[in-house]
Assembly symmetry: C2
Homo-oligomer: 207 residues x 2
């Protein structure tokens, strides 16, 4: 746990009211951390209550409701906190940018992230509402990769008719399968982002 | 539940003793079904006991231990039963074979499969032993895809130096990410196997 304000590292969402003073940001952080702790300890999202989060964070329920309308919008911020910001592409070359963007894909940064993220999957299957929340939390990372592809299309390094969503799938999908779903032990995790980028660039889209 | 013998649809494993009479195969089936039912009802694999499976199947513990040495080896057969056999490639063309092999990837065929398979993921993260069991259960499907790639390499339709594991990852990874991990709603599930096969074949490996 860091002592920096929560808003430094997370994607702001429409649902959350803009933080005011630093004290407010600290409360945001404590509440989000409390939610993540409860999930990491094995609570399902379904079973999680605002009461339990408030009790763990040492705040009143009203303090939470002033910030988030419901636990779904809290989860968006909690996932953003867990995942951190998308990487910043160096802009030096298409290859380096893609490798930089792909390195963290599916790599669960902390033990806590490793406990929480896979446990959400069965819940996503049960709840379309939670799926929508999950997509809202994950979308900034996909959009960051799309921006890199568009940047290099504009510079003529990728064909203008490249299928951005499909290319993204061929780059990120294998890493998600490998890192989250334990796919294929015969494919080493080490160096996989580089191998994928090279195979996709040799194949599709490069002028 | 079907009335066919369990051995018709499942991969035999080294741990399981060969079934003798049809009556024995029916007991195998009842036991495996009982295990799948308990998992689908929310039991974690960790919490599952041979006693509970025996009680649900209406057999004695000894009947189970005559067939499987432990619950891990039961799970290999249970997953094989859940997933069904890998598809049989038509052998008409590289493209058709790949599309046929890819259609079921990550597509959880039944509600029960959809309940059980994602719930295993958090347990895999906790247990290297369970990971090994899972790999043993999933490996026949990967091997079936490899065989298709080798078949078309022999016939000169794929370059002999194609990276089989990487190609498999680029084909299967996006489908697993999409179907199991709810990745990217902007990428339609419909037609994805065909689009991936076409993109990969246009890019890597094709003569």
């Amino acid at each position: 746990m860091t002592s920096t304000a929560r808003t430094d590292g997370a994607q702001p969402t429409d649902d959350r009211k803009a933080p005011g003073r630093p004290r407010s940001a600290r409360a945001d952080e404590a509440i989000t951390e409390a939610m993540l702790d409860l999930l990491a300890e094995g609570s399902s999202f379904e079973a999680l209550t605002i009461e339990a989060v408030a009790a763990r964070a040492g705040v009143g329920k009203a303090t939470i409701y002033r910030r988030w309308p419901n636990k779904e919008s809290m989860l968006v911020d909690a996932i953003a906190r867990l995942k951190g910001d998308p990487p910043v592409p160096p802009g030096t070359s298409l290859r380096e940018d893609l490798v930089t963007m792909l390195r963290p894909v599916g790599a669960l940064r902390s033990t806590r992230a490793g406990q929480i993220m896979p446990c959400l999957i069965p819940e996503l299957r049960r709840s379309p509402e939670l799926q929508a929340v999950f997509q809202r939390a994950m979308e900034p990372r996909r959009e960051a990769l799309r921006k890199v592809l568009r940047y290099w299309i504009e510079r003529g390094e990728l064909r203008s008719d490249v299928d951005i969503e499909l290319m993204q799938a061929m780059l990120a999908g294998p890493l998600l399968a490998k890192n989250v779903l334990f796919w294929n032990p015969d494919l080493p995790r080490e160096g996989l982002p580089e191998r994928l980028v090279d195979a996709v660039l040799a194949g599709i889209g490069v002028r």
